[in-house]
């Protein structure tokens, strides 16, 4: 009996020492969902890996565990996980579902967690349209780690060979004329290179290029009640423009089923000279093709000298309101958005800087050959950017417009009828 008693006492003593000892510090594990894999080799993935490494070196008591997700399913999955109380501590939210994420109460107020400790200068350095989008009734629900400016990506080498300058594209008609000039056929009249294309699959869909057309006319894409407004005169005219290029053989009909990944494969294979592309993809493509072979310009305008508004989709990073390690998650977010973090995102990741001071400090870097897209995107975002509204959910609007395009290209459906159907589909899916 005394032997059992002694063993029990020894165990209790050992447990007390273990629990009370200040030397034993349990590391906080912070789970983060993002589409970037820190083990990957693309510039943005390398940048994220470096930020995590630097943070963990400075904070050995916090482990950042990245669980990479498929980008177009990540935010809905997060919202479902929030419902089940099993969401990750840090989440990257796409702009399309930002309204849902904020209204669901799934995101914590970053002001309380760390922004209130910032100086007014530091806040002012960040404040822009993206900041305002995530700032609701005095609370800050996210900070954009990835600002995406979706515009016209082109091959400068092919432009130079054809004697074309980017400045030649001032209006939509110019774009068509240049695309026509860049379209190449072989001796059998078969197209070996198309002038322009976008990707029109419903999977991994980027915002449709008809949107700049609609917005340039002054028409809204959604009504104030959140209903789709695709079939306006500007929408019909814009859709006729893009599907007309397919009919004219300047754009490929295969694009009806292409995802953005398919599109960039074609672009990288010299099969297309200009594509709808996002600023965040430029560095990755430059890594494959060379810095002198990928560049970005704003969409042309209805009239020369006034570029059409471009969609500024992006990724807002937030902290899950149900997280048990909010303080550690906040510490990492603060680090990721710090001066060194922003510089890594820009110089290593090839992203548009989040802070005005970074843009200024990296002036020399941005003016280097091949980095001009950063200035185009930063200027475009400030002067001609459009962010999806957050007052209502807009999930599925990209797919609805792409489906309409497929029906026009493949089934020969009337443009107005296809856009009307897309409106009805979007409204039905969103219960409006």
């Amino acid at each position: 009996m005394s032997k059992i008693k002694a063993t029990g006492l020894a165990l209790c003593a050992a447990l007390s020492v273990t629990l009370l000892s200040p030397a034993v510090v349990m590391a906080d594990t912070v789970r983060m969902w993002t589409f970037l894999n820190p083990a990957g080799t693309s510039p943005r993935e390398v940048a994220l890996a470096q930020i995590i490494k630097d943070f963990e070196s400075a904070n050995p008591d916090i482990d950042i565990v990245v669980e990479p997700q498929v980008w177009d399913q990540m935010t809905p999955k997060f919202l479902a996980a929030h419902g089940n109380r099993s969401a990750p501590d840090i989440i990257w939210v796409v702009t399309d579902f930002l309204g849902d994420a904020i209204q669901s109460g799934s995101l914590a107020d970053l002001n309380e967690l760390f922004i209130n400790k910032w100086s007014e200068e530091k806040k002012a350095d960040f404040k822009d349209a993206y900041w305002n989008l995530t700032s609701v009734q005095g609370k800050q629900y996210g900070l954009f780690a990835s600002r995406n400016y979706i515009a016209l990506m082109y091959r400068p080498d092919l432009f130079a060979n054809a004697g074309i300058k980017p400045e030649d594209i001032k209006t939509w008609d110019d774009l068509k004329a240049v695309a026509q000039k860049l379209t190449v056929k072989d001796s059998g009249n078969k197209v070996t290179r198309y002038g322009f294309s976008a990707a029109y699959s419903e999977q991994q869909a980027d915002p449709h290029p008809v949107i700049p057309h609609i917005l340039a006319s002054g028409e809204p894409l959604f009504t104030t009640e959140g209903k789709a407004n695709f079939a306006s005169d500007a929408g019909v005219k814009g859709m006729q423009f893009f599907t007309g290029m397919v009919k004219d053989g300047i754009s490929p009909s295969q694009a009806a089923t292409w995802t953005v990944d398919d599109l960039f494969e074609q672009f990288a294979s010299d099969r297309i000279a200009m594509v709808q592309g996002s600023a965040v993809r430029v560095s990755t493509l430059q890594g494959k093709l060379g810095k002198d072979k990928v560049a970005l310009m704003s969409w042309p305008g209805a009239v020369a000298g006034k570029p059409s508004p471009s969609v500024m989709a992006g990724w807002s990073v937030g902290i899950w309101s149900g997280s048990k390690v909010k303080a550690s998650a906040a510490k990492f977010m603060d680090f990721m958005m710090s001066d060194p973090g922003d510089k890594i995102w820009t110089a290593v990741g090839g992203q548009i800087p989040g802070k005005k001071s970074t843009l200024k400090e990296l002036e020399n870097f941005i003016s280097q050959p091949g980095n001009g897209y950063l200035a185009v995107a930063a200027r475009g975002a400030a002067e001609a950017g459009w962010l999806t509204p957050i007052d209502f959910s807009v999930g599925g609007y990209r797919q609805a417009l792409n489906r309409a395009t497929q029906q026009i290209i493949v089934d020969g459906k009337d443009v107005k009828a296809a856009l009307k159907e897309a409106e009805e589909h979007f409204n039905r899916q969103n219960g409006r």
Partner: protein, 285 residues
């Protein structure tokens, strides 16, 4: 305590664990589908509201129709081709038979996403190998994914290519279990190859054939990876089958109410198919 109740007592823990793992998601899903879903959580009780909204969708009937066509044609082709290959391989010398089996089985053991991507890159992409060969011979490019009929045809082709290996293995096992004496006796009685196949082999393959038909039907109804990677449901809605519709409703439009309702309707269909299998497997020829 009777031996019967003792036996029941032994299986209670295992059965409870099984029920919890297998059936609790179904019951939770059903309860979930009876509510209005806001931001991933069930709010107000709306009865069958999600189901009526789903069935009033003008595109729903066509989606069911496309699923039926895709499943029926895929299963019929897979069974017919695998049966022909199995009969051929069964008569080959063991070494050559093994080589054929390995070739047919490779797509089955490969991940669906990887196999579909390979199929797409090699045979369909206009920067792929097949198109390069066509161009080399001056032939026109085939835009198979841009045409609604050929897109569905391709989806069926991928399904057959992917699942042929599974059907072949089951049928070969069935063929090997038929005693050689039966065929010899029939030959001595003057039966020709067609009679032997029709009157001896086919009836004795009833159980493996039924198993294949049910498993392939379930697998084709529930497949989401191939259409997602190959066509994305397009062009238009040409390859939008039930599984991809559930996926899009849940993860593209974030309409979890109708996605759960449709998933449960599919689950019910799956259960009915399994019951049909159990019933038919007792059927005597």
């Amino acid at each position: 305590m009777t031996s019967r109740s003792t036996g029941l007592l032994y299986i209670v823990p295992a059965f409870s664990a099984l029920a919890l793992v297998l059936f609790s998601p179904v019951f939770y899903g059903f309860w979930f589908s009876l509510h209005r879903i806001r931001y991933g959580t069930a709010s107000e009780f709306i009865g069958l509201g999600n189901y009526t909204q789903l069935l009033s969708d003008p595109g729903m009937a066509a989606t069911f129709g496309r699923t039926a066509i895709h499943t029926a044609v895929s299963v019929a082709l897979t069974v017919a081709i695998s049966l022909a290959i199995a009969l051929w391989v069964h008569r080959l010398p063991p070494n050559r038979g093994s080589i054929v089996q390995m070739i047919v089985i490779i797509p089955w053991i490969t991940s669906t996403v990887v196999a579909t991507l390979l199929f797409k890159w090699v045979f369909i992409s206009d920067i792929g190998m097949a198109m390069s060969i066509l161009r080399m011979f001056g032939l026109p490019d085939l835009q198979l994914l841009s045409d609604p009929n050929s897109a569905m045809g391709l989806l069926i082709a991928v399904s057959v290519w992917k699942r042929l290996g599974y059907a072949l293995i089951i049928l070969l096992a069935g063929l090997k279990s038929i005693p050689e004496d039966y065929e010899e006796a029939a030959s001595l009685d003057g039966a020709g190859p067609w009679d032997i196949f029709r009157l001896i082999i086919l009836p004795l393959l009833k159980t493996p054939l039924l198993l294949i038909v049910i498993v392939l039907t379930l697998s084709n109804i529930n497949t989401v990876e191939s259409p997602l990677v190959l066509t994305g449901g397009g062009p238009g809605s040409a390859t939008r089958i039930l599984a991809i519709d559930v996926f899009d409703r849940a993860f593209v439009n974030y309409d979890l109410g109708s996605a759960t309702s449709l998933a449960l309707i599919m689950f019910l269909g799956n259960v009915l198919l399994v019951l049909a299998y159990v019933r038919l497997s007792k059927w005597k020829v």
